[in-house]
């Protein structure tokens, strides 16, 4: 069979035929006998023709290895947390969608694993299953900041909305981690989980009402509430003497550093309410308030109302006493006309700022312990188009002598380095 279009390199004729040698395909020139081209045995690359994996049909039949691993990781995590079937399916579908997106397709394997965890997190949040970012970071053994970043990207890319998890919902799961059943620890230190959860829940609600919870990380708050609940359920000598550190070791839970500050803040709030109890005669201190916690929590709404009312009454009484003084003080600034008005306004602003935190009974702790601002310099009126004098600019330029000295010093440094 003649092959048109081909020319023999030896003699230039176009008389080329297919002359197979056994299975070996060959094109041979009839006139001079040169083999123009040989078959697939020599030319084709090893392993088949030169088509990349992504262009072949194999890619549609078999999904990417990492996608399969990611999907199985999602399934594993869902089984570990023991979520419902619909949450697991939702997480799998989110992972499938997110994996293909350009933000996640070419990242390193750690990030892909974190993505799997975030898909589980989003699905749990959407189905009202209480879970924290801390739990997911623990499962993945990853940095919570990285998990948070990937979580936010995922929400943006898939255009999802997820509810912020309430602290009360996570409380039950948190309390179950504490191993203080009667078969695990001595009788006087043991506590039933449901009773403990109920008491801790009341404490967390009280903390939320008095501004200790908003804006803070949930885990230290939960730990503080559980510890105080445990102490107050049987306030005997053993329990009161046990510090948070030892309690965490007893219950085999990792201690959180900020829990200590939360405990102090919560005890202060309990003291404020404890002072309102009519049948308590002795002074209420943070140490002695633990025994009163049961009574306080049972009647907390009434005590809160009472405390606020008493606080308002005392403030009004103070105002009545202070107002004659204030009237004389207000006339003074009018006389001092040389004071720039900005300074006066700024000073009054600062006073009223610090006052509102001290005026109310319950406020976020940062407001009550507000750091004093450094006094600000008086503002000059600047238009942006003023004249700039030469002397000002010269202060930013080195004189020629200084430049020469600098160059010499550099040379000396370089030569001393070489030596």
């Amino acid at each position: 069979m003649q092959r048109s279009g081909l020319r023999c390199p030896g003699c230039g004729s176009s008389n080329i035929v297919n002359d197979d040698l056994y299975c070996h395909v060959q094109l041979v020139c009839v006139d001079c006998g040169t083999v123009v081209s040989e078959g697939s045995l020599a030319d084709d690359p090893v392993g088949g023709s030169d088509v990349s994996y992504s262009r072949s049909t194999a890619v549609t039949k078999v999904p990417c290895q990492n996608l399969k691993k990611g999907l199985s990781r999602v399934k594993e995590m869902c089984r570990v947390i023991r979520v419902r079937r619909n949450i697991e399916d939702l997480a799998l579908s989110y992972f499938q969608q997110a994996y293909e997106h350009e933000n996640f397709i070419r990242v390193n394997l750690t990030k892909k694993e974190v993505l799997a965890g975030c898909c589980v997190l989003v699905s749990c949040r959407q189905m009202n299953w209480p879970i924290t970012i801390g739990t997911i970071s623990c499962l993945l053994n990853a940095d919570p900041a990285l998990v948070g970043g990937v979580y936010k990207d995922l929400l943006k890319i898939l255009k999802l909305e997820a509810l912020t998890v309430g602290i009360i919902e996570v409380l039950e799961a948190h309390c179950q981690e504490y191993k203080i059943n009667s078969d695990q620890v001595p009788e006087e230190l043991a506590e039933d989980c449901t009773v403990l959860t109920k008491r801790a829940k009341a404490l967390v609600e009280l903390a939320a009402d008095s501004w200790i919870v908003t804006g803070r990380k949930p885990l230290p708050m939960l730990m503080a509430a559980t510890y105080l609940a445990w102490q107050s359920l049987k306030p005997n000598k053993h329990r009161l003497k046990l510090s948070l550190d030892k309690f965490c070791r007893l219950a085999k839970v990792q201690k959180s550093q900020s829990a200590l500050t939360r405990i102090t803040e919560l005890k202060e709030v309990l003291c404020k309410l404890g002072r309102e109890i009519p049948w308590v005669r002795e002074t209420v201190t943070p140490d002695s308030v633990i025994r009163l916690v049961g009574d306080i929590l049972e009647n907390r709404f009434a005590l809160l109302r009472r405390a606020l009312r008493n606080h308002e009454d005392s403030l009004q009484a103070e105002n009545v006493v202070n107002s004659p003084n204030k009237e004389t003080a207000s006339s003074k600034p009018q006389e001092l006309t040389e004071n720039p008005p900005a300074e006066d306004r700024g000073h009054q602003g600062q006073e009223s700022e610090s006052n509102w935190g001290k005026r109310v009974l319950f406020a976020p702790p940062c407001v009550i312990n507000r750091k004093r601002r450094r006094t600000e310099q008086p503002e000059l009126i600047v238009t942006g188009d003023e004249e700039i004098s030469d002397s000002e600019i010269d202060s930013y330029i080195r004189s020629p002598q200084e430049v020469r000295d600098l160059v010499q010093a550099e040379k000396m440094l370089v030569s001393s380095d070489k030596v």
Partner: protein
Amino acid sequence: MDSSSDEALDIIITNVVATFRTRCHLNLRTIALEGTNVIYKPEVGKVLMKLRKPTITASIWSSGKIICTGATSEDDAKLGARRLARCLQKLGFKVKFSAFRVVNVLAVCSMPFAIHLIDFTKNNRPIASYEPELHPAVTYRIKNLKATFQVFSTGSLTVTGPNVQAVATAVEQVYPLLFEVRKPLCK
């Protein structure tokens, strides 16, 4: 804004970022050698120059593009930029002060009441984002003004926006939303 409160709110501008061009190539080595208060970063390819009055830090690139940060008002930023351009002129470059533009303004504001962040997030669901485990503030973005808020439970806000007017308008817009979630203890 004053109609909804007895006291006026103080919006304190803490940072203004502006850019401008010098329309000529700048030799960074000369600037590093002959200028005072200068840090040369050859690995990044820029020079940092700090001015004393107003307190401005400028990043100078050899293409002639300059970014000034640290000013406390738009006019301050312009004055600082012009001072910087004059300084470069004195060093021997043919500088033409052009394309001055304020890029970003950061301001801080303080409300005289605490804010219940969970209620605020619930009321403004898709626009507000709150993750207490990651950051103690709610992030609230106003798309048409291109302003971003960080709202803290103590009543402090930080706002970033493209210019001072946008920042002021944004605070006015967000004030009523914050006012309705200042939580009185109503038990």
